[in-house]
Every structure is written in structure tokens, then in C-alpha cells.
């Protein structure tokens, strides 16, 4: 292929504006007649609430206190509409948004937040996903906490383990983490010259934001406009709605520009986390190190809201084998609600957690069989034409063997080397 520009180290087209500090992020935008907004969030993980905004509304400089009563359609969510724009009756996690204060400046916003009275009637919480799966556990939404159950049933794992010479069994646990992008959430909303509710925000998916805002405000999508500014990192943390609907609603109600900027602390409780997972693995191989069977039960804690839980746990399930051909596979990958911070997309999206398990399983088997970690992998890896656990044929571009060889050329993993455990 004769390529002129593909494959070349073209300088980033946004680099100049970024090295000179001219690149604008949402908090860098100032408009005439602009006021500020700030979110009141739940302080408890599970409770029925009663909201009294009366006192806050009387504070000089407070323009409006928005609550669920002001939202035409008070629901959103990337897959299930299980988030409320503002909690109406129940909070399900610490950090759930309850109200949005609009005031002349940030200080008055802070002051008003303190004057909104929330009566919490606390209810039993559940933080452990295993416990949450039980029938008698407190329910976060509806009548079950199980959001999703993905299964792979391929071959006969019992038979596979019976024929295995070495078996590794372990439970692996990964934790919730934060994207920690450098630019905390911020946005500014206004009504543009064509009457559209416009939100300038740093988002991964502007058209999705437009859809959610239109739905919540019961407007047609043409009446909503998203302008993406520069974005200070995302890594999956800017997929769910954070302040977009709050800002849009405020602009629509007040017909003037409103700006909101999250502090770092608020950013931590506002956006999704990486799913923590409990991964119970059993992997069997024959005497030569050929994998014969794998069984995995993966439980992912999606916290108080589903966000991408179905897709994340599906991705975990599909990738549970690792890049290896295994004839007999049984996977159960389950997403569960709890009263923890909600989990959603983060770099790797469920496929980042499972290798913590399957790659250690490979090394455990290698040790049991007395072969080195490269050898056991080379025996089992996907190659062109391999069939995955879901029955998909990898027809093209499967250079995993080359990747391994490149690494093994530089680092010696053989068992004969000094210091090998």
C-alpha cells in the first residue's frame, strides 16, 4: 500500500493550543450575565428522603433551587434508565444528586447548600455484592440486585478437569478505582441564538448527552446542542451524565448562562468507578501444558446504578479465558447492585480485571507442570483461525505470537536463569 501520511508521526493538531495554554476547557468559558450552579448530594448510602429548600431559596443571591419537581422526565442512564436526574424519594449511594442551587456566585451557592434541609430516613444498606445477590438482602432497585448474568457454556468442563493433569484454583479480587483524569467536571449552559438549550461540556459522547438532555427536558433533539470543549482526560469517566442535565435544565428554566465546576472531591463522588470484581477461577491443563478446561464465576459490583454494567460484565465474561484456546469453558459473569459508588466504564471495561486472574492462573499451572511461563502460553495462544470461547473465528490479524516473541527476546523468562523462583 502506498501511504503518504498514515504511519507518519504527524504532530498533534491540538498540540499548539495546549502548550500555549490557549486550549479552553469548560471552566475557562465566561459569559455575560453568567451565574453559578452547585449540586447537593446525598450524605448517606441508602435512605428515603424529604427535601425542604425553603430556607435556601430565601438567601439573598440565590436564584433558583432545582429539584426533581422541576424535571419533566426525571430519569437517565446509558442502558437502563435507573438514575434520577435528582433523587425524588430515595437515595442509593453517597453522592446521589438531590438538588442544584443556582446563585449569583460560588460562595452563595455553598451557603445555600448548607440551608437545604434533607431529612434522611435511613434504610438497611448492602455493600457486599455476594450478600446483595441473596434473596433476603436489601434491594437497591426493584426486587433483585442482580442486574445481569452472562453465561458461556462450551464443551464439558467436568470432563475437561477430569482429564487435566494440573489444576489451578483461586479467588481473585480487584477493587474499585477512579479515572483520576486531571480536569474535574465542569460545564456551562445557555440558550443559543436559535433558541437551543446549549451545554458546553467535556464529554466522551456529545450526541448521547444531547439525547439524554432532550429526553429529560422533553425537548426534541434539534432543540438541544452540545459543544464539546477540550477535554482534560476521560478514560471512561465522562460517559455517564454528570452535570449535563442539571445545567441544561437550569438554562432552560432561567434563560441565562449557568456555569458549574466540580471540585476534585466532588469529581470523585460524581462519576462512575471501575467495577470491583470477585473472580473465582478454576483452570486445568494436561501434562504438556495444553489447557483443557476453565471455569470462572465473576461477580462485579456495579454499585448503586447499572451504568454500563451489562456490557462490562459481558466483556469480562467474553475475555475470561484470556487469549487462549480452551475446549471446555464455563463462565458466569454477574453484575450486582449495591449501595457503593456506581461503577461504569473505565479503560479496559471489564477486560482489565479478568487478566489479573487468568494470567496468574497460567503461571500457577506452569509452575505445577515445571514449564516456563512463555512455553505454556505459546502452547495455548490464539493464532489465526483460532476459535474463541464464544465460538468466534479469529480470521485475521492475530499477531500475539509475535508480541510474545518480542518480549521474550528482551527478557529471559526461562526456568534455568538465576533468581527464578
Amino acid at each position: 500500500m502506498n501511504l503518504d501520511i498514515v504511519g507518519r508521526n504527524i504532530l498533534r493538531i491540538d498540540a499548539l493550543s495546549k502548550v500555549t495554554g490557549k486550549a479552553l476547557y469548560p471552566e475557562d468559558i465566561f459569559m455575560d450575565n453568567m451565574v453559578y450552579g452547585k449540586t447537593l448530594r446525598s450524605k448517606v448510602p441508602h435512605a428515603y428522603i424529604r427535601i425542604d429548600t425553603g430556607k435556601a431559596e430565601k438567601i439573598d443571591g440565590v436564584i433558583k433551587v432545582l429539584t426533581h419537581k422541576d424535571v419533566p422526565n426525571n430519569e437517565h442512564g446509558v442502558i437502563f434508565k435507573d438514575h434520577e436526574v435528582f433523587c425524588s424519594e430515595k437515595v442509593r449511594r453517597i453522592g446521589d444528586p438531590i438538588a442544584f442551587v443556582v446563585a449569583k456566585n460560588k460562595k452563595i451557592c455553598e451557603l445555600a447548600l448548607k440551608e437545604i434541609l434533607i431529612e434522611y430516613e435511613e434504610i438497611e444498606e448492602v455493600f457486599c455484592p455476594i450478600k446483595a445477590m441473596k434473596e433476603d438482602s436489601p434491594k437497591v432497585h426493584g426486587d433483585t440486585n442482580i442486574v445481569y448474568h452472562y453465561k458461556i457454556r462450551k464443551g464439558d468442563v467436568e470432563e475437561g478437569f477430569k482429564n487435566s493433569y494440573a489444576i489451578a484454583e483461586n479467588i481473585y479480587r480487584t477493587h474499585m478505582v477512579d479515572h483520576a483524569f486531571l480536569q474535574p467536571e465542569a460545564g456551562i449552559s445557555f440558550i443559543d441564538e436559535e433558541g437551543r438549550v446549549t451545554v458546553m461540556v467535556a464529554t466522551q459522547y456529545p450526541h448521547y448527552d444531547r439525547e439524554e438532555i432532550a429526553s429529560a427536558l422533553e425537548l426534541s433533539e434539534e432543540k438541544v446542542r452540545i459543544i464539546n470543549t477540550n477535554i482534560g482526560g476521560a478514560f471512561g469517566g465522562r460517559e455517564d451524565i454528570s452535570l449535563q442535565i442539571h445545567l441544561a435544565l437550569a438554562a432552560k428554566v432561567l434563560n441565562r448562562p449557568i456555569k458549574a465546576i466540580y471540585s476534585r472531591e466532588e469529581s470523585f463522588i460524581a462519576h462512575a468507578k471501575r467495577h470491583s470484581m470477585i473472580m473465582k477461577y478454576k483452570t486445568g491443563a494436561d501434562r504438556d501444558g495444553k489447557l483443557l478446561a476453565m471455569e470462572a464465576e465473576i461477580v462485579g459490583d456495579t454499585g448503586a446504578y447499572a451504568s454500563w454494567a451489562t456490557n462490562v460484565l459481558r466483556k469480562s465474561g467474553v475475555h475470561a479465558t484470556g487469549p487462549y484456546f480452551i475446549p471446555n469453558v464455563k463462565v458466569d459473569s454477574i453484575a450486582v447492585y449495591t449501595n457503593n459508588p456506581f461503577a461504569g466504564a473505565m479503560r479496559g471495561f471489564g477486560a482489565t480485571q479478568v487478566p489479573i486472574a487468568h494470567e496468574q492462573q497460567m503461571d500457577i499451572l506452569a509452575e505445577k507442570l515445571g514449564i516456563d511461563p512463555i512455553a505454556i502460553r505459546m502452547k495455548n495462544i490464539f493464532k489465526q483461525g483460532s476459535i474463541t470461547a464464544t465460538g468466534q473465528v479469529l480470521t485475521d490479524s492475530v499477531p500475539l505470537d509475535r508480541c510474545i516473541e518480542k518480549v521474550a527476546e528482551k527478557i529471559d523468562f526461562s526456568l534455568e536463569r538465576e533468581e527464578a523462583y
Binding site: 450526541h207 448521547y208 523462583y421
Partner: protein, 333 residues
């Protein structure tokens, strides 16, 4: 004692929303008034380099220098939906959409050129460097600029849509073709574990990443370095201290991400093997670059000290505890 260990981690990663969910990217290409070309897509620049890479794909398809391309991806009132900047799908999905839109746009240009040059047909017309000309009679040529003068802004345009091919999985057996394409990688690390403090020091890392084809190698390396650092934080440092639903480490003085002093030079190796359904063979790597690093570190820790750490994060405290418990277990035996 300080003990050294080596570990390897592999991973594969399926691109896109997956599972038969319509994973569509749209792109629009327009001839602008000064002969420049506008590419309009909803693909977001989050820092990964989407604007640059997608512009390169447009530039390559149109055989038009980058400075003649205006890339617009900010305003929903101007650009079509190109899906989310996630699932490592922008290079592959939106890249394909741009390529298709640019091919369609070239045909629109050829049509216009045929009319203006009074030709019988469009075949044999080459589009290159801002001109359309007849290969076997190059005197017959017309520039983008001239066309834009004749047709005005906004009149020559084309769209392109790419929908990834995936198949929904069976709910009982999980059989199906959920993602496409798949990306592969391997990471090896060498590290030192201080068995007294529980601190882990990465000494060396070799990272090989399949990219199909690298549209922009520097940007790929930047992703690999960044993915490594994020994985390092994931496995060794980052802890929300979540207790009863409350995040106690809710600020950067407590939630520790790696600093420049915690990172090392990574020996990055880009492995190319073009993927036939991808734009110029390029696969997305934004997410894969973080995945094999964690397990490589964990395997290296085991290689160093002979203790399996099965719970993240491997804080010094947890590591020391694991060593202690392992010691007790071995004593009992």
C-alpha cells in the same frame, strides 16, 4: 531483603460496543469555499489523539495535505453521530466512516469535475493533492478551489457510515461473535520487591502491542506509556478506601496516582499486522495498552518472593501481610 522477579502478562481485547448492538459511526465531508475540505464527525478528542489520527485517515484517503483539511468534532449542531469515544472504537469505527465518506466525496468531486471538464464519465479521474485530473490526459484537470468557486460552500458533500459487524450471543451458551476486531499484546516486567517495606520497584518493562497498523507511531507510544502508568497505579497505589459506601481517599493527596518518579522508561514495541476490515489496517489500542501490565507485575512479584497476591491493590501493607501469612502457612506444613 530485596528480591528480584520477572513476569509476563498477555491480553486480547475486543473492540467496540459489541454483541450485535448497532455500533455505528457517521462522517460527513464537505468542500469548503477556499478549496479546503471539512471533515465532520462526532468522534471526541479526549486527549488520545482522535483529531490527529482521524485527520490522517481523511488526508490519506483524499490524498490531500493535512493543512487543507478542517476537522470539526465539537458541535452536535454541525456534525453527525460517530458514537462514543470509548471501547477503543474511534480509530476503527469512525476511521472507517471517514474513509467511506471520503471515498464517496471523491466520487462527488469526480462528478463535478466531469461536468466542468465536459467529460463523458468519471472513471480515469484521479483525485490527488487538491486536484482532479484525467490520468491519461492530464491537461484535463480542475482544482478543489476552482470547484468550490463554481459550486460554492456546502454544495459538494458526502456522507459515510460504518457499522461494525458483530453477532449477538446466545443467552444460554454465550455463543456468538460479540466484538470485532480483536487486539493483542504482551508485557514483560522486571521488578524488585523489598520484603521488609513491601515496596515494589519496577526496574524494566518491555511492552509489545499489536496495532494492526500504526496511523501515528508517536501517539501509539504515548498511549502505551500512559496505559502502563495507569496500570501501575491500579495494581500498586490506587485505593479509594471505600468503607460502607464512602470514599475516604477522595483527593489527590490520598488517592495516589504515579508521579514522574514512579514511572520508568518502557521499551515499547509496535507490532503491525494490518486488519483487513480496518482503515488502512489500523486497530484501536486506547484500552488494550493498560491490560497486560497489571498481571505482568503480579506474576513478577510471585517470581520474586514466591507469594501469590490475589487481591488488589498490592499496597506495601498487603504485601507484607501476604508474606507473613505465607510464612505461617509454610511453617504449618
Amino acid at each position: 531483603m530485596k528480591k528480584r522477579g520477572r513476569g509476563i502478562g498477555l491480553s486480547f481485547y475486543g473492540t467496540g460496543y459489541g454483541n450485535g448492538f448497532p455500533d455505528a459511526s457517521k462522517a460527513k465531508v464537505k468542500l469548503l469555499k477556499d478549496g479546503k475540505v471539512g471533515i465532520y464527525v462526532g468522534g471526541t478528542e479526549v486527549g488520545q489523539g482522535a483529531k490527529t489520527v482521524l485527520s490522517q485517515i481523511g488526508s490519506e484517503t483524499l490524498k490531500l495535505p493535512l493543512d487543507k483539511i478542517i476537522f470539526i468534532s465539537e458541535d452536535t449542531s454541525l456534525m453527525p453521530d460517530s458514537g462514543t469515544a470509548a471501547a477503543s472504537r474511534q480509530t476503527y469505527n469512525t476511521g472507517n466512516a471517514i474513509k467511506i465518506a471520503c471515498e464517496n466525496f471523491k466520487n462527488r468531486l469526480r462528478e463535478a469535475a466531469r461536468e466542468q471538464l465536459k467529460l463523458n464519465a468519471i472513471h480515469g479521474l484521479t483525485v490527488e493533492k487538491g486536484e482532479i485530473y484525467l490520468e491519461f490526459f492530464p491537461q484535463k484537470r480542475i482544482s478543489f478551489k476552482e470547484l468550490s468557486k463554481i459550486y460554492g460552500d456546502d454544495n459538494i458533500e458526502a456522507e459515510g457510515e460504518f457499522i461494525a459487524q458483530t453477532i449477538e450471543m446466545d443467552p444460554e451458551t454465550g455463543q456468538g461473535a460479540p466484538y470485532w476486531p480483536y487486539t493483542f499484546n504482551a508485557c514483560g516486567v522486571e521488578l524488585e520487591v523489598d520484603t521488609i517495606t513491601g515496596l515494589v520497584e519496577i526496574e524494566r518493562a518491555v511492552f509489545a502491542q499489536d496495532v494492526g497498523r500504526a496511523i501515528n507511531p508517536h501517539l501509539v507510544e504515548g498511549q502505551m506509556d500512559g496505559g502502563f502508568a495507569m496500570a501501575l497505579g491500579y495494581v500498586l497505589f490506587e485505593d479509594l478506601k471505600l468503607e460502607k459506601g464512602k470514599i475516604y481517599n477522595n483527593k489527590f493527596s490520598k488517592y495516589l496516582i504515579p508521579t514522574a518518579m514512579d514511572m520508568i522508561q518502557i521499551e515499547n514495541i509496535i507490532v503491525e499486522e494490518p486488519e483487513y476490515t480496518a482503515p488502512f489496517g489500523a486497530k484501536g489500542i486506547g484500552e488494550p495498552v493498560m491490560i497486560p501490565v497489571g498481571p505482568a507485575i503480579l506474576n513478577a512479584i510471585y517470581d520474586a518472593i514466591g507469594v501469590r497476591i490475589t487481591e488488589l491493590p498490592v499496597t506495601p501493607e498487603r504485601l507484607i501481610k501476604a508474606i507473613e501469612e505465607d510464612g505461617k502457612k509454610k511453617e504449618e506444613i
